[in-house]
Point group: D2
Chain length 373, copies 4
């Protein structure tokens, strides 16, 4: 079961509500002897942190992570390493303005989880969305920072490739550019356009959706486990679990429906080193649920932020019709901050699949007992 | 872990290879006292069975299912019911022509799992694709038939909504029509067009992709479990695990990226019965990972069949460059037979979520011990 | 997978080391709307807390528990209830004297996990035993307090029934007495004897083992899940996971080996209320892995505390032979404080089995959808 | 969840009822490229097979196992090997005499699972005990045969060490003798005594309990996963899941309660090869839940067979008092055939822990990607 846990051998359990004392996660299954400092995690949290530009929520959170367990500082080297025991990461909440949310205590905000949580649990922490708040994604990003260490040679990067109906020009793709603008957009021209575009959305009290692309390079062939532990299946699950995500695709994705078998086939030749080489990557790095060794390419669609200033019709807990406009601090395009979250999810899935692969393979007589040395 | 298992409380473990003696599944967690005959399952297998029209593979399989365990026939009523113990379903393979596949024993077919299985396992049953064959989906359909019984009031139906670049006209949607044509297409006009279109594809030795839509009506609000056991997350995982699927979306899906918050909001009013009523269903029946009580709508993209008559460049196990054309019997549009498979996956996920919901809720003092009576 | 997690639907993941900043747990799967205050948990922690008598370690820990997530205080009632989201319980470590342990940094203490952690992980937090310290059991007791709320009508109690070779006289059994003496011993005569006996052990710098019995009354028939989720199987697993436990038995346990089928049979008659009634309880409340409705009786053996003042021969990390005597603060009979821990484990297993039972049963047509109301 | 599944990476799901068409199991997670023929499995089934001596049930079952999936015969070598996909093992039932059981259809046999299955499920296959029959253990033995191949250098053997109140003389221990007598008893003198003793029990229409010891030699240090995936915890769970088992202990087990810390400490010195060497094995090869490299020693108590000719008082489904004597074919001491079953369970747990260990360890930079080659 996995209500609040993701992963099998690299298991991340997140906890916490938007306006509770803290959020965080417990990571179980991280291998030992990996150097890990809070600062390693902090760097990734910065990328997701709110309040940095006018294009994200103005909530001010330090998002300072503490490591409560699972590491040990070696006196000799002064180096802090993982010990193989559960790693607990804690991020205290500091800028909760729960009063902002009093109006939504009893009315269901359209597009939010208010109604469904109430239907399921009969109780909900309405403050800032409680458990269903995007604030929980900070814990994901923290876990992703640890996951990256496990699969260190693999490079996981994300980019915003569409905002509203506007797609970027892939010919302009520049990974460095994605780190320079506030949209994680790899196309400088599109980024400049998005600045004006999103200002308009924000000033209108509206919001807009986005599409994010995550690319993981340098993963070897062989990760994944058919048929229900497929790499793409787990990526789909992990990305779809991010708040506001409504679609996930791998490689060509939905566009593959329009292709012929000839067009979609990734032909192979031998590379200069004599190793098999794919001539294209329609598959997005996954065939039969197992990595091919090519870049793993996943995209996901984020719906527009449901919290908007425009009043919408709704009902309340008492069974009366009403209208609601969300006054709190919100992202006009929650898809932007979904970029580091998507990266983290992909890193977590890959770390898990890597460890699972270790546990699936290698039964040649004699080898088992040499592992420990 | 779940290499070959799907679900948590309603657990389905499938087994078998395309050209082995049999395929099948073990269903663990089916509640007791549900009437179940082999004929109940057979009806759904018929829908997926190959060789019925010229648009699917000409392999002739009776696909006759046997129930090996988990049921008991009550002498008094003559009724066979589930007992709460594992239900094993077995389907023998009868029309394996393994010789057809000798040519592909050592060469990797582009778009297939040949290369990745070899990279991961160092061995593979090449005959008919072995474990990665779409034949495995018969076991899914069988399991889905049992799942439907658990969630009986819920109606799960699927339809082909796009073939190649050609989308159906949703204004023509007629569920009955979807049962009349060989494409499970709910638009009679589109179905007529697809007949010619797919004949062309087939005669050219080519193949084409498709998009399938699954709709589950009458599921109550409250199923699903945030944050990593979300209903949509599990649907994404289950649908992406089907052979050749490259994308999954819920409700508006990728189109949500282009919407504003106002457009995407599903407003609420009170219905005639005084119960909350959504005025639209952009969410596809899921908010915050929990069902809303509206129809649950999922779509998935199926890539074109990788087995085509057109020769493609590839390499072989010995490390030589070669060309390959797949001569076996194949579906020109594997997306067609994915319709009953997608239905089955959705039914399995819903049965699992229903039972999980039972295990998550209901802790009011006193109630626990009344359940058994 | 469950390195640091116990349970399936009521899942407890513990974390933390003896001398790290904190220990604690995340409870996932607790049903909503259960009243829960920190004080409810604190009461059970007191029972396990060290330093209260001369018969337990002199480490002084407040063991003050904080609830970091998963609860919500209703403004109207002022009552704090669970919300169905993960409950995080945190207990800060305050009295770590890590210097005491410098001597054991490199030498392996016989009977401890020092050698095996080093063999497995290649690194270990030696301070106070790190993760393998009995301190972790405080998190178990905290989780058990929450579990008890879920299965409220069930009464889970434990008692020490043997210390060293000395068994109590079961004819003297008095549950109230078990709360009056420092040994949780239900036989006042034995308790008086144990006081002198254990003083002798303690003054000799030695230690001694014990046997603990846990009884859960008022659980209904029907909990448990054959064949590998059996109630007794899960009890065995949970109790064996407690530090220093070397044996577990249910009902007659090992004594059943010496019985004949006639002697061991729990015959049945009808009670005054016409319901089936067992005339004995050799089974310990479990048949076929499912609860019978009788008291559930489990016993477990705790080995003598491995930390003793008597020097023992050992080796160190550098591969040299040496001797070691453990100087830190330790329990002369760690079995005493295992009583509340055993109770907690049984409560956790029963809460999990109760929720699983809810998810296994009840598929009569029509009933599913009435559950939510 | 694991109602009918044991293991995490080496997962065994068993299915089938005593008088259904077949029993069997699906093994998911077996590594690829292991030579596996049906004959390898058959050898172990022979050891457990009924009807071979007058001391076991007279039911005649060929217990012929078929491998339905998960293996592939390499044309070149003629060698059949595992492929990494699910291995399905099927054993058909051939000698069901269901009429024998008509009398017990409605009355609950004391000591059996009849009452509890009925309470839980409201329906049960009463024929031969249905799912709760010891017949299911044939599937365990089959799975154990596969497990042994994965951990090939480890030697797992079992022996009966007590029948009724009579313990063997451990000074006479001879593993070869255990294969010569019908009791798997390693003490020839005791075996001779048991022959007369059990004849007496059998002729009296009674039954008797037993204690079994399983020893696994040559497992390396480092297997197991604290705190809830401990090696001893998983052994306890697996052994307690065997029919009729009421107690499990590791190493000294319950006897450890009577020892002092000095007595129980397994001191260490350096061996001739300079490697750490334990001077005793009170721990039974497990410390802190992790293997020490010494022999792993587990014992379990089996209650007397509940099916006896002596009539016992009971009640029936209709709520009337009655008496029952079980007429079918039964083992006078079901503990005897529990020996190969216990071996199989230990082998399965070790195979699982070995693969888990592979997935837990080894994160030094650079090494991950060398694994595949």
């Amino acid at each position: 079961m996995s209500h609040n846990t993701i992963g099998h051998l690299f298991r991340v359990t997140t906890f916490g509500e938007s306006h509770g004392p803290a959020i965080g996660c417990v990571i179980d299954g991280c291998p030992p002897r990996i150097a890990l400092e809070a600062a390693d995690i902090q760097a990734f949290l910065e990328k997701r942190r709110p309040g940095l530009t006018r294009f994200t929520t103005q909530r001010q959170e330090a998002d300072e992570v503490k490591i409560l367990s699972g590491v040990f500082r070696d006196d000799a080297s002064g180096r802090q390493v993982t010990t193989g025991t559960p790693i607990t990461l804690l991020i205290e909440n500091t800028d909760q303005r729960s009063k902002d949310y009093a109006a939504i205590k009893d009315a269901y905000r359209p597009g939010h989880a208010d109604f469904t949580y109430d239907q399921k649990y009969g109780v909900r922490d309405h403050r800032g969305g409680g458990r269903s708040s995007a604030r929980e994604t900070a814990a994901r990003v923290a876990a992703g920072a640890v996951a990256r260490k496990i699969i260190r040679p693999v490079h996981v990067r994300g980019a915003l490739v569409q905002m509203g109906p506007h797609k970027i020009d892939r010919a302009n793709w520049d990974w460095d550019e994605a780190l320079r603008n506030p949209f994680f957009c790899p196309d400088a021209t599109a980024a400049a356009f998005f600045e004006d575009y999103l200002d308009g959305v924000r000033k209108a009290g509206s919001s807009i959706g986005a599409v994010i692309e995550i690319v993981a390079e340098n993963a070897p062939a062989g990760w994944g486990a058919p048929l229900y532990g497929k790499l793409d299946s787990e990526l789909a699950s992990a990305l779809m679990s991010i708040n506001a995500v409504k679609g996930v695709e791998i490689g060509e994705g939905f566009a593959a429906a329009a292709l012929s078998g000839e067009e979609n086939a990734d032909e192979m030749r031998l590379g200069r080193d004599g190793a098999p080489l794919f001539l294209s990557n329609h598959a997005g790095g996954v065939l039969g649920g197992i990595s091919t060794g090519q870049p793993i390419v996943a995209r996901f669609a984020v719906k527009p932020t449901s919290s908007i200033l425009q009043p919408r019709r709704t009902v309340d807990r008492a069974g009366a019709e009403t209208e609601i406009a969300t006054k709190g601090r919100h992202d006009p395009c929650v898809g932007i901050r979904a970029v580091p979250v998507g990266e983290a999810m992909v890193a977590c899935v890959l770390a898990d699949q890597f460890l699972r692969h270790r546990g699936q393979i290698g039964a040649e007589p004699g080898w088992p007992f040499t592992d420990k040395t």
